[in-house]
């Protein structure tokens, strides 16, 4: 059995360094807000962010059981209309607090309930934030406190050898809604990738395992942009995302992924099958090869 993850508050060395650098100038900031004023300044300058105004909802588990794999879901309620400009996720106290930013394109849809989910690593007790940017440039934020942490243990792979095999294997799925005329469809991209954070010591070489993670993912539907995502190693090993997109002619998804080594991975579009969620079968899973 392993240690309980409910009481661990110690950040790892690298995180502590990152925090101290950022914390120093923040002494005058509201203590509850921690690093956020600086992060906000870096990402959005002096723009106004409206908090908890119902335009964006962030869901996270009440109790975090595996800090290396914490599901986060962002929902944009149906009353929010029009194009979305961007969505940014932050975890304030992670070594790199910026988790991901999605820059939306025309195929992201104009209405209905749009959503995005992924799985993240949580290094320490922290606030998670989702900041949604609408077409008019307005910013809207939802927050959730992530009330558990795994310290650096959260960053350790269960089976490093298994994680290192089959790197680049990509599965792309589309889920057709109950009514195929529904304006919003959902998709999923998963890629085998260790998403190494560069903070793990390899005791055989006494060196840190170099950081290597997915930094960019572009998803297109029938050739039109759904989103381009910039990501960090705060995304869990084997990055896995679910998202919505506008119902198109063929609803074929094309995925292009680049990691920090510059290696490119691609996933082809897939034809839909009928019925709610029935598309999540072998026939809708497309495995792609490493292009390198």
């Amino acid at each position: 059995m392993h240690q309980s993850l409910t009481n661990v508050t110690r950040a790892c060395g690298a995180a502590a360094i990152a925090l101290s650098i950022l914390v120093l100038p923040a002494t005058s900031a509201n203590a509850d807000e921690g690093l956020w004023p600086i992060l906000k300044e870096q990402a959005f300058g002096d723009r106004v962010i409206r908090e908890n105004d119902g335009m964006v909802v962030l869901e996270a588990p009440q109790k975090i059981d595996d800090a290396a794999l914490v599901p986060l879901t962002v929902r944009i309620p149906p009353h929010v209309k029009g194009q979305l400009k961007s969505l940014s996720l932050f975890i304030d106290n992670n070594p790199d607090p910026k988790v991901a930013t999605l820059h939306y394109g025309p195929a992201a849809g104009q209405g209905g309930e749009r959503n995005f989910s992924t799985r993240v690593r949580v290094d320490n007790f922290s606030k998670a934030r989702a900041v949604l940017e609408l077409e008019d440039g307005s910013l809207h934020m939802a927050t959730k406190f992530l009330s558990a942490a795994g310290g650096c243990a959260a960053m350790q792979a269960k089976d490093p050898e298994a994680d290192a095999t089959g790197i680049g294997k990509t599965i792309v799925r589309t889920f057709s809604p109950a009514l195929s005329t529904n304006p919003i469809w959902s998709g999923q991209v998963m890629i085998k990738h260790p998403n190494d954070n560069g903070m793990q010591l390899d005791i055989n070489t006494a060196k840190f395992i170099p950081a290597r993670y997915v930094k960019e993912m572009t998803v297109k539907r029938d050739g039109e942009l759904v989103f381009k995502m910039d990501a960090t190693f705060s995304i869990s090993t084997n990055p896995n995302i679910r998202f919505t997109f506008a119902n198109g002619e063929k609803n074929a998804l094309d995925v292009s992924i680049v990691d920090t080594d510059g290696t490119k991975f691609e996933g082809p579009g897939e034809k839909n099958t009928k019925g709610f969620y029935s598309a999540a079968s072998e026939s809708s899973s497309a495995e792609t090869s490493l292009l390198e």
Partner: protein
């Protein structure tokens, strides 16, 4: 375990006993600062941990720890969750034999099985583990130390350290204790990626480490598929008894592994079905395997984590 304030007094009393009755020491009954162990087979001793999460109250005494006494020396199999508990286990060994402690074997990396290693440094034994144990412990060292000190408390955890194995087992290997041999068999990734099965040849006792949980809910920190496969193999073995990592001191095959097989298979079935239905990880953690809730202790502490691990593994099938 007695409270820290009593230990010194009892140790003092015990020291008096040593002086007064040195020749009788090896037959002395267990004292308060000595681990409570039972001889489950000739020369095979097991201490049973509590069905709890590490706390200041239990001092980290939550896993089973064993030792085997041969004509030439002693092998320790898991050392419990702190240097203090390791020292109590060592006292229990010294209460029955003065033979050299030749081997300290860890069945896997988890803190509740390895932090007592420090108490045996004075014996200069060979520290033994799966060949992946060293790297697994090396990368987790800092977080294990910090987390366990926090959970157990500074005093109770004092002196605990990570001691890496100096003998890594990659192929089935025999260790000689004189009139008996221990067979060490490294496993594929199952409970963790560094599980080792130890068999005592003389009594046909199988030490399964955390490949076997009983009463305490199993925890997946490796591979659910690998674990089910390893359990299939274990179920075919003919042994006199098995010693679980968490559970009673001894059990018998095949009944011993059946609840755990059912638990893991239930999770695997539920999760596979939900993946096929297009359900998300967050959805699966709310329902998968909950039919097992009343069958285990510490279910609330570990079950959702197990489902999370299973989902992340099985979605790649």
């Amino acid at each position: 375990m007695c409270s820290p304030t009593l230990i010194s007094r009892k140790n003092f009393l015990r020291a008096g006993l040593v002086l007064a009755a040195t020749p009788l020491l090896r037959y002395a009954p267990a004292l308060a600062a000595t681990a409570d162990t039972s001889e489950v087979a000739p020369g095979v001793f097991v201490h049973q941990g509590r069905y709890e999460v590490q706390s200041p109250q239990n001092g980290g005494d939550i896993a089973n720890a064993s030792f085997v006494v041969g004509s030439e020396g002693v092998a320790v199999i898991d050392t419990s969750g702190s240097a203090k508990l390791g020292a109590e286990l060592r006292d229990a060994i010294r209460a029955v034999t003065n033979k050299p402690i030749k081997y300290v074997i860890n069945t896997h990396m988890h803190p509740d099985h390895v932090f007592g290693n420090a108490a045996f440094k004075q014996d200069d034994p060979t520290f033994v583990g799966h060949y992946k144990l060293a790297s697994a412990l090396g990368t987790r060292k800092d977080s294990y130390l910090a987390a366990n000190e926090q959970m157990i408390g500074k005093d109770a955890f004092a002196g605990s350290e990570i001691i890496l194995p100096n003998l890594g087992i990659k192929e089935p290997t025999k260790l000689d204790l004189g009139d008996r041999e221990l067979l060490l068999e490294p496993q594929v990734t199952a409970h963790t990626n560094n599980d080792l099965i130890v068999t005592d040849s003389k009594t046909n006792t199988l030490f399964l480490g955390d490949l076997l949980f009983s009463v305490h809910v199993p925890t997946i920190d490796g591979s659910i598929k690998g674990w089910l496969a390893v359990l299939d193999q274990i179920g075919k073995r003919k042994t006199a008894r098995v010693v679980p990592g968490h559970g009673p001191k001894t059990m018998e095959l095949p009944e011993a592994i059946e609840p755990e097989q059912r638990y893991l298979a239930t999770i695997a079935d539920d999760v596979r079905r939900q993946i096929a239905e297009g359900k998300s990880l967050a959805e699966a953690t709310k329902t998968a395997g909950f039919s097992e809730k009343d069958a285990w202790k510490l279910f609330d502490q570990y079950h959702v984590r197990n489902v999370t691990a299973a989902f992340a593994e099985l979605e790649w099938e």
